[in-house]
């Protein structure tokens, strides 16, 4: 996953016609499990692609974020029986195909979360065998605010290969040695300089579609003095505490651990599953004491973590502006609107 700056790799740019991008998936699928966007009902999901024909690079965003390929919504950590414990590992080589810049940023954040101080062996094993084929955004989704968070719509690093839609073909850039290795499995034609210029032109057009509502640094300042702002009480009345926002968030990482025992009361598994700070029992301890019994404090925990604490933890805000929480909130809570309200707008 060693990543070099794009500028060092001009020579490695190539082109693939749009109608052949599925073949690219098929080529990779001979060596890796390829996970990419495909249609599910009216929405899109990141799932294993049975063939390149399923690939839908015109997707706006996936329902669940790519972290599900690295820490599963529910996974077995180890099995136990008698006096034996066996770690369960299911990592294999995989390509995450067509990830948007916001989602790639989210993975680089999770890389730190899962390695700081102690390394999470499940995440690490999968991550080491994960290749990222990213896709610059040439359209802007309804709830996207990556530009504001500095995580899109284009990507500078964190990818092995990077695609950009140039109309009838994709520009393919190499971002790592692993990316070069991926290309070795494929036969692409080199890109003339003029197509690279075309890329910059298109991406500039996309950037202009964003309205710059607020600076990230300003969000932090607003939150720093707003913990007791009366608007929180109103927001907590709107919030259902359902936890949707955390399930679809690409940078949420909380999990709870449970044992499940088989009927012989001897064999069992320790499993973990995604948890949500919005849920009532998230901070519950023995004797029924709850450290965040009010929804208001749980809602604050979620937004302060994303827009304030995360930066203290790893140096970057925990929100990448993908807009999934906005799309999936039944109460229509939008992080930027919350900050604007706290600011008094």
């Amino acid at each position: 996953m060693a990543v070099a700056k794009v500028s060092e790799r001009w020579a490695a740019m190539s082109l693939v016609p749009k109608e052949e991008v599925g073949l690219l998936v098929d080529g990779l699928a001979r060596h890796y499990q390829v996970i990419g966007p495909k249609q599910k009902g009216k929405a899109f999901v990141l799932e294993k692609l049975a063939s390149g024909q399923e690939l839908r690079l015109d997707y706006q965003t996936s329902i669940l974020p790519p972290r599900k390929a690295l820490i599963r919504p529910r996974e077995t950590m180890f099995s136990f029986h008698d006096n034996q414990v066996e770690t369960v590992q299911d990592a294999g080589p995989q390509v995450l195909f067509g990830l948007h810049p916001c989602d790639v940023h989210a993975l680089t954040l999770l890389d730190q979360v899962f390695s700081l101080e102690y390394e999470d062996p499940y995440y690490a094993a999968r991550r080491q065998q994960t290749y990222v084929v990213a896709l610059n955004c040439t359209t802007v989704g309804e709830n996207c605010f990556c530009y504001l968070m500095g995580t899109g719509p284009t990507l500078r690093d964190g990818y092995d290969l990077l695609l950009t839609d140039l109309g009838n073909e994709y520009l393919v850039e190499v971002g790592s040695d692993a990316g070069e290795e991926l290309l070795r499995h494929l036969s692409l034609r080199p890109a003339p300089r003029v197509r690279v210029v075309e890329k910059e032109k298109r991406l500039d057009q996309v950037r202009r579609q964003f309205r710059q509502q607020m600076e990230v640094t300003e969000m932090r300042e607003v939150l720093a003095g707003s913990y007791n702002h009366p608007a929180w009480r109103e927001l907590a009345k709107d919030c259902l505490g359902c936890g949707n926002c955390t399930m679809v968030c690409p940078t949420c990482f909380c999990f709870q651990v449970k044992d499940q025992l088989e009927l012989d009361l001897n064999h069992g598994q320790r499993v973990r599953e995604w948890d949500s700070c919005l849920l009532w029992d998230y901070s519950l301890v023995a004797l029924g004491h709850n450290f965040r019994p009010q929804l208001e404090t749980r809602l604050k925990q979620r937004l302060y973590h994303k827009l304030y604490y995360y930066e203290d933890q790893i140096g970057t805000p925990g929100c990448v502006g993908c807009g999934r929480c906005v799309t999936n909130c039944p109460a229509g809570i939008h992080p930027l609107e919350v900050v604007a309200r706290l600011k008094g707008e």
Binding site: P121, R272, A286, Y309
Partner: protein, 278 residues
């Protein structure tokens, strides 16, 4: 790759009943090499597993210099801890750790130490008390204030008064004395002992652990007496599912209580947006 989530077996070597709902277990890793290599700092905790029921963070209550075994003083109030209550000498538990930062022992050098404990909160402080007793040269004077709900709730009742030395004073109180119980000490919440304690703010380090409501009044009472937030250290309880700053549940502001705590200077906590102990 070693899996930090995977516990190792320990054998229960001794069981000491402390109160009607609390028991001290002496244990050692069944692998002698692991036990020989095991070190912990006073204030750290282990994750204890009963397979099939789950895992719970429990502070270590023994003398950190005892390398042959370690102890957990466990109040049986949850799924895992209730299962442990049904265990006895020779039974196997699964343990991983130690985790967390521990009490600021180095800062006690040349200073007075005030220990304020409430209920089960004395368990994570007992290793500090052992340290003070083992190393009288490492501090100036110490005072231990311990409060429990009733005399029957007192932990380590056969040890408490033996901890008194020329340098260490012990003061006890209970919230109430049920009819007929013998009780020769103070009645009232632990902060009532502030009226009679010798400890003064100057050159004193405070370490406290107990229910949050108790610590809140301890901090408040001490600060009213002139103690600074920076000289009061508290040990916090939070929900923990991993102990290694991954599951996220113990997060308090940008801190992970499991990794950056459980011991915090109260001054650190006052800087967090979310109020703690206020």
């Amino acid at each position: 790759m070693a899996n930090p989530y995977q516990p190792a077996p320990v054998k229960i070597l001794a069981v000491q009943r402390e109160t009607y709902d609390t028991t001290t277990y002496t244990m050692a890793f069944t692998d002698p090499d692991r036990q020989a290599a095991y070190r912990f700092a006073p204030g750290q905790f282990n994750m204890l597993t009963v397979f099939g029921l789950g895992e719970a963070p429990i502070s270590i209550s023994s003398d950190a210099e005892d390398r042959a075994s370690f102890q957990h003083t466990i109040r049986h109030v949850g799924r895992v801890t209730n299962a442990i209550q049904r265990m006895g000498v020779g039974d196997t538990l699964w343990v991983r750790g130690p985790y967390g930062n521990g009490w600021p022992l180095a800062q006690m050098e040349g200073r007075n130490v005030l220990v304020v404990a409430g209920g089960i909160g004395l368990a994570p402080l007992r290793p500090v008390i052992y340290y003070l007793l083992n190393h009288p040269e490492k501090f100036n004077r110490a005072e231990i204030l311990y409060g429990a709900r009733t005399p029957a709730d007192m932990l380590f009742s056969n040890q408490l008064l033996q901890w008194q030395t020329e340098k260490v004073k012990v003061r006890l109180t209970v919230d109430q004395v049920p009819n007929g119980d013998a009780w020769a000490h103070r009645v009232g919440v632990v902060t009532t002992l502030f009226q009679e304690m010798d400890s003064q703010p100057a050159n004193t380090l405070v370490v406290t652990c107990g229910p949050e409501i108790m610590m809140r009044f301890v901090v408040k009472g001490l600060m009213e007496r002139g103690f600074e937030a920076s000289q009061i250290y508290v040990s916090l309880e939070r929900r923990m599912n991993c102990g290694i700053s991954k599951c996220g549940k113990c997060q308090l502001g940008p801190k992970y209580v499991c990794r950056d705590g459980p011991v915090f200077a109260f001054a650190e906590l006052t800087l967090l947006p979310e109020p703690v102990l206020v």
